[in-house]
């Protein structure tokens, strides 16, 4: 303590304190009799003390007792003479490296006899720097966690992707897809198991349906053929013609129904189909039968699908357009999906019937006559085949009259 010392001894003690630490080159410590020169200048204080200033002031007041006045604040400009105190070792290193960044504080200690001594301490602003090793370790920890998270997220989502793929391919392929692997979390295993069970049930159902239809086909064709022979033996030509038409219609219905039910089970392999060539071929077929078909636009590249199924789908649409609208206009737009629009200039379909016409054997009142023919399965089959390709088929009435069938076929990515 400097208080019990006389003024001369106090000055000697301060000079010794100033000379003692090795890194006090900046020290301009002094002590002298009478009020120090520094005190003649107004002591600059910040309106708000920083935490550091408060802590140092409180601790000094507690250590020195009430007999001493203690003030702590940033060093004013120009700095008054003061006793420079060395920084503790953990701050000294940073201060030695960046002396220009050091922040100076003056600690004024007033003695009871009116003398005052100013001590100057230096700190690095912004607190103690973090060691580079810590930042590197934390970055490595983040990297490790990201790897673990990546693997975890993948293990969760991969079974879901497999399930989505399996569900998407269900019904598209002629043969049942292999069983989905039951792996991952319990909920995912349950979902995979449920999907496998559903897939089994569906395939069993489709198999039995195909077998029944094959038997029906055989059983129906035989009596129809027998009937036709009996009709030809009739000697009443008008009656013969009427029954012949009925038989034609029955045969057509059986054929179309079989085509519809066979639908996805035809086993036709998928291939790259040149849609431009396919449409051209259909156009030629209709031209031979007296129908007019115009084609605008073209597919930019082949579409992966079942050639016969696609041909049947398009033929049904164009046949409807030619039948009810005298001629068919085909518009092709290629992009993410291949969109084929088939337009006619017929009477169109009442709005409330636009969806119903896709129901099997459903026919509009206007087409329930002998001239228009049809079994009510053409659009059903066309939509069935479009959906088997992952696409869609929609009908809409045109503003200027006529009907537009929009076939949208996605390109496999």
């Amino acid at each position: 303590m400097l208080a019990p010392l006389g003024r001369t001894q106090r000055a000697d003690a301060l000079a010794q304190l100033a000379a003692s630490p090795p890194h006090m080159a900046h020290a301009d410590a002094f002590a002298h009799g009478g009020p120090p020169r520094a005190l003649a200048r107004p002591f600059v204080r910040l309106p708000l003390l920083s935490d550091f200033e408060t802590a140092l002031r409180d601790q000094l007041r507690a250590a020195l007792g009430p007999a001493y006045g203690v003030e702590v604040g940033p060093t004013p400009e120009p700095p008054p003479p003061a006793v420079a105190l060395p920084a503790p070792f953990y701050e000294a290193h940073e201060l030695a490296l960046h002396p220009e960044a050091a922040q100076r504080y003056d600690v004024t200690v007033r003695f009871a006899d009116g003398d005052a001594v100013i001590y100057r301490v230096m700190r690095m602003p912004g607190g103690a720097p973090l060691p580079r090793r810590l930042s590197t370790n934390l970055a490595l920890l983040v990297l490790l966690l990201v790897i673990v998270l990546y693997l975890t997220a993948r293990s969760i989502t991969r079974p879901l992707s497999d399930l989505a793929r399996a569900a998407d391919s269900l019904g598209r392929e002629a043969h049942p897809a292999p069983q989905l692997a039951e792996r991952g979390a319990r909920e995912l295993r349950d979902a995979a198991r449920a999907f496998n069970t559903m897939q089994d049930r569906l395939h069993r159902y489709l198999d039995s349906r195909t077998r029944v239809l094959a038997a029906m086909s055989h059983d129906l064709k035989t009596p129809l053929t027998r009937l036709r022979l009996q009709v030809e033996a009739l000697d009443n030509p008008p009656m013969q013609e009427r029954i012949g038409r009925e038989l034609d219609e029955m045969e057509s219905m059986v054929r179309e129904a079989l085509a519809l039910f066979r639908g996805l089970d035809d086993g036709e392999p998928a291939a790259a189909v040149d849609m431009n060539a396919l449409l051209e071929k259909i156009r030629e077929e209709f031209r031979d039968l007296g129908g007019t078909v115009t084609i605008t636009g073209q597919a930019l590249r082949p579409l992966v699908g079942k050639p016969q199924a696609l041909k049947r789908c398009l033929t049904n649409l164009i046949a409807n357009a030619v039948k009810f609208g005298t001629r068919a206009e085909v518009l092709i737009a290629d992009g993410a999906d291949l969109v084929i629009r088939v337009r006619d200039h017929g009477p169109g379909i009442p709005e409330e019937e636009l969806e119903r016409v896709f129901e099997p054997f459903y026919r509009l009142e206007s087409s329930r006559n002998r001239d228009s023919g049809g079994t009510g399965l053409g659009l059903t089959i066309a939509r069935d085949l479009a959906q088997a390709h992952g696409g869609s088929l929609l009908l809409a009435n045109l503003a200027g009259g006529g009907l537009e069938a929009t076939l949208r076929l996605p390109r496999r990515r």
Partner: protein, 54 residues
């Protein structure tokens, strides 16, 4: 097509959310460590200077 920084797939969202959470947790941890370290250094300096002055 709408561009979005937030992933659309479940995998992407899981990963993005987890990585965000980890980075945020690490940043907060770094802040807490820095604060604690500053507190420690300041207390040490204050004690040291108090001892020297007193």
């Amino acid at each position: 097509m709408r561009l979005s920084l937030w992933p659309q797939s479940l995998f992407g969202r899981l990963l993005a959310a987890s990585v965000l959470a980890v980075v945020l947790a690490q940043a907060v941890a770094l802040l807490l460590i820095a604060q604690e370290r500053e507190h420690f250094v300041r207390q040490g300096s204050v004690r040291d200077w108090t001892r020297r002055i007193a």
